[in-house]
């Protein structure tokens, strides 16, 4: 029996078996071909087995067989569409895991985030990735649209693809917006309150739209559940559908556009022909995608773990306390800016609708057949102008513009903001020497000569407090609301409990309107172990 064992035969039969199995798994490639693919060598068998995969495998049949060489030039696409999709997958995967730990109920939501961050290994990282990925996705989707606009790739047969793209931009913004509410902190609650409040301004059905979104006059249990279901079910489903259509158009119908110069430029025919050379999906495009994916993952991990990006989490949502500086998510600042300019219905609903309509209609409005930047100065001019307007409007949307806060409130808010850390909370606990410190106009060099380690941080915060108070008292050039006539100001630090100190800001001034002496007081409790976010 042993004698009849033919090692050679066995080896070749084993090889055959594995070879067959590999061909089945890869839907067409045998071992040798797989080896060639990984080395970047040309195919050996004929017909090219790498194309067969595209008909036998579902996942490959939705991918293109090849792209034309010039369309894959990096500076033409910047891989923006790829990364938009990449972040969609990142969001989907991290999102599904996050769903395990999250409960969409007001009394539990915030607690479940705290629990995720303090009790689940890699929990905080997961949330950071999901948040960073969401912000990145908005940026990449927007840049992708800009690129498509500037290279004139929305024209002719690609106008429907552009249409689905604009819809995807909308879906991305809404996905991000409703996800914003889920941590149920102050940041989330008020940003979404502002956002859904805009729906109320819609003509005819505004009240109903607002009720439908919030599930009540204010955002509560119903509103949170609605935002959650929109975020995890409806919008992702719509996104998957739209992405499929959008991508199918690109991969199976018209491909990625060539840079304009290869279509209409003044270059030799030879070069134009060369630009249309096929780059096969297997191995070149596939390897490139895998490479970009690993690069994307690496970039996410490095920006979070090495560069310390951290998803914001403010205090738990409190419908009774409107924060001083409320703002929408940054990608909606332009809308907030618009709202400051005029009527809520016109600026908040009608104008954005017109803008969305115009975006969709661009391929039909722009009848210029050329794609090159130089041959369409009007379109490019309008594009650049729109970006500038967007930036200016976004600036106007931040609290830096057009919001007047009374002097005392502003000064204290800047030193010890309601949310986040701020200069006061950055002072090391031991430097918060109990005592009453009055602003006298001269800034002391050292507030606590009795502490052997001194208190430079406390002194510098007090110096800043003094400087701003003194200016508000003395500078007649300031607008009335920023002045503190006859002002007096104190900083009081008290020992309150074990490892807990109470800091009081007290500011008194003569109010010119009511002719009375007014007092502003704010208490801040600081615990030794609070850490900074």
């Amino acid at each position: 029996m042993l004698k009849s064992l033919d090692i050679q035969d066995l080896k070749s039969r084993l090889y055959q078996a594995i070879d067959n199995r590999v061909r089945i798994i890869t839907a067409g490639l045998n071992l040798r071909e797989l080896h060639n693919v990984l080395r970047g060598d040309p195919p050996e068998e004929k017909p090219n087995p790498r194309y067969k995969v595209h008909t036998t495998s579902f996942l490959f049949h939705i991918r293109p067989r090849y792209y034309e060489k010039a369309s894959t030039i990096f500076t033409h696409t910047f891989r923006l569409g790829f990364f938009s999709t990449f972040f969609f997958f990142v969001e989907a995967i991290t999102g599904i895991i996050l769903m395990i730990y999250y409960s969409p109920v007001p009394s539990e939501a915030y607690q479940s985030i705290l629990n995720l961050e303090s009790n689940v290994p890699y929990g905080k990282l997961l949330r950071d990735i999901h948040r960073l990925g969401a912000e990145a996705m908005v940026i990449f989707v927007f840049l992708h649209m800009m690129r498509t606009f500037l290279t004139g790739s929305y024209k002719k047969e690609r106008s429907f693809t552009w249409f689905t793209g604009v819809l995807l931009l909308g879906v991305t913004l809404f996905l991000s917006f409703f996800g914003y509410l889920l941590p149920w902190d102050q940041l989330a609650y008020w940003a979404v309150t502002i956002g859904t409040g805009m729906a109320e301004a819609a003509p005819l059905f505004g009240r109903e739209a607002n009720l439908l979104l919030r599930g009540g006059p204010d955002i509560g249990a119903n509103g949170l559940l609605r935002a959650y279901l929109l975020h995890v079910v409806l919008l992702p489903a719509v996104a998957v559908l739209l992405i499929s259509i959008h991508y199918y158009k690109v991969s199976r119908e018209h491909g990625i556009s060539l840079p304009a110069k290869y279509e209409e430029g003044d270059i030799p025919a030879e070069e134009k022909k060369n630009a249309r050379q096929r780059i096969d999906f297997i191995p070149d495009l596939l390897t490139h995608e895998v490479f970009l994916t690993s690069l994307g993952i690496f970039a996410l991990i490095v920006s979070i773990i090495i560069f310390g990006y951290s998803a914001p989490l403010e205090n738990v949502a409190n419908p009774q306390v409107t924060p001083l500086d409320t703002k929408a998510p940054w990608y909606f600042w332009w809308l907030q800016g618009l709202l400051k300019l005029g009527d809520k219905t016109l600026m908040g609903v009608i104008l954005p609708t017109i803008i969305a309509g115009l975006l969709i209609a661009i391929p039909y409005i722009d009848r210029n057949p050329h794609r090159s930047l130089y041959k369409r100065p009007v379109a490019v001019g309008i594009g650049i102008l729109s970006i500038l307007v967007l930036v200016v409007l976004s600036y106007m949307g931040t609290p830096l513009y057009g919001i007047e806060t009374p002097a005392a409130t502003r000064i204290v808010q800047d030193l010890a903001p309601e949310e986040g850390v701020g200069p006061l909370r950055k002072i090391p606990f031991d430097q918060l020497q109990p005592g009453t410190y009055e602003v006298t106009g001269t800034v002391p060099r050292d507030l606590c000569p009795n502490l052997d380690f001194g208190c430079p941080a406390l002194t510098s915060v007090f110096a800043e407090y003094s400087r701003r108070i003194t200016r508000a008292i003395n500078d007649p050039a300031l607008p009335k609301i920023q002045r503190l006539p006859n002002g007096q100001a104190f900083l009081i630090i008290e020992d309150w409990q074990t490892d807990l100190r109470k800091v009081t800001f007290r500011i008194l001034w003569d109010d010119p309107d009511s002719q009375q002496r007014k007092t502003f007081e704010k208490h801040i409790f600081i615990h030794r172990l609070r850490g900074d976010e």
Partner: protein
């Protein structure tokens, strides 16, 4: 090397690097999570301190010292060592605090020392029982109160700490000169403000658009035919209302709500100060 090979090389490198960083991050996770929990506890105490300052200090005192005969101290050794046994509570002290704050106290557990025989003494604070606070806020308050555990002094001798002999219930008694500013301070520390200024549990002291202040109204009550007390002047009426609160009940209010033991807990001087303050509230 071809482009494909370069990409395979760098792709592998990125994956390995990412894996390495993740591994290192994972090794640090237990420490990070423990720290996070500490910070969370600290923040909970900070928020609790703020909430306590707004909601609780009126009765239980800014430092949890309470008011003898009215509202029990919380920053008290007894509270941390014996309270659970005293009321026969089976859970932790935190549970006890959360439960008490949430549902309020319907009947006093120590009727010999604090009021509340058969009527609510402490209101319910949880939203679901009709109060103003959410559950997480009540947890924060509990965290703040529990932070007194290590330093709480023994307050069992507090009753004896009075600055002089108690004033008693004689409303005709000659009192020393009162100081309204000191009286205003006493109104805070003795807890008067809670029912007479902050919440409308008792007759409001301050003037409103509908009615003048308590001093002016005291004059008017003397001429009211339904008045059942013995006072003959506004100051005597106010004196009587403090030490013998049930001598006359203002229409619209209930008898027995105001503690009747101020005669035992105030000194002559303190009473005079409070009266002087009340007389300024026209």
């Amino acid at each position: 090397m071809s482009r494909v090979q370069l990409e395979v090389f760098f792709g592998t490198l990125f994956v390995l690097l990412s894996g390495g960083i993740l591994l290192w991050y994972g090794l640090n996770e237990p420490k990070r999570m423990a720290e996070y929990e500490l910070h969370q506890r600290a923040k909970s105490i900070e928020v609790g301190a703020e909430l306590y300052d707004i909601n609780c200090k009126g009765c239980h005192g800014p430092q949890g010292e309470g008011v003898a005969g009215l509202w029990p101290p919380l920053n008290d050794r007894h509270f941390f060592t014996n309270r659970l046994t005293e009321v026969g509570w089976s859970g932790t002290l935190e549970d006890y605090i959360i439960s008490t704050v949430s549902g309020g106290r319907l009947v006093s557990t120590r009727p010999d020392r604090y009021p509340g025989q058969g009527r609510p003494v402490m209101p319910a604070w949880a939203e679901r029982y009709g109060g103003p606070l959410r559950d997480d806020q009540i947890r924060n308050i509990a965290a703040f109160i529990l932070n007194w555990a290590d330093t709480a002094p023994d307050r069992s001798t507090q009753m004896a700490e009075m600055a002089g002999p108690p004033t008693g219930t004689d409303i005709k008694k000659a009192l020393p000169e009162g100081d309204p500013t000191r009286g205003e301070g006493l109104a805070n520390t003795k807890g008067c403000v809670v029912c007479h200024i902050s919440a409308p549990t008792g007759p409001a002291w301050l003037a409103t658009p509908e009615q003048p202040g308590i001093a002016t109204r005291a004059e008017a009550i003397l001429t009211d035919p339904n008045y059942t007390g013995n006072a003959t002047s506004a100051v005597e009426y106010l004196h009587e209302s403090i030490v013998l609160p049930n001598a006359y009940i203002v229409p619209g209010f209930q008898a027995g709500v105001m503690p009747a033991n101020y005669g035992d807990t105030l000194t002559d001087q303190e009473l005079a100060d409070i009266l002087a303050y009340l007389l300024t509230l026209k």
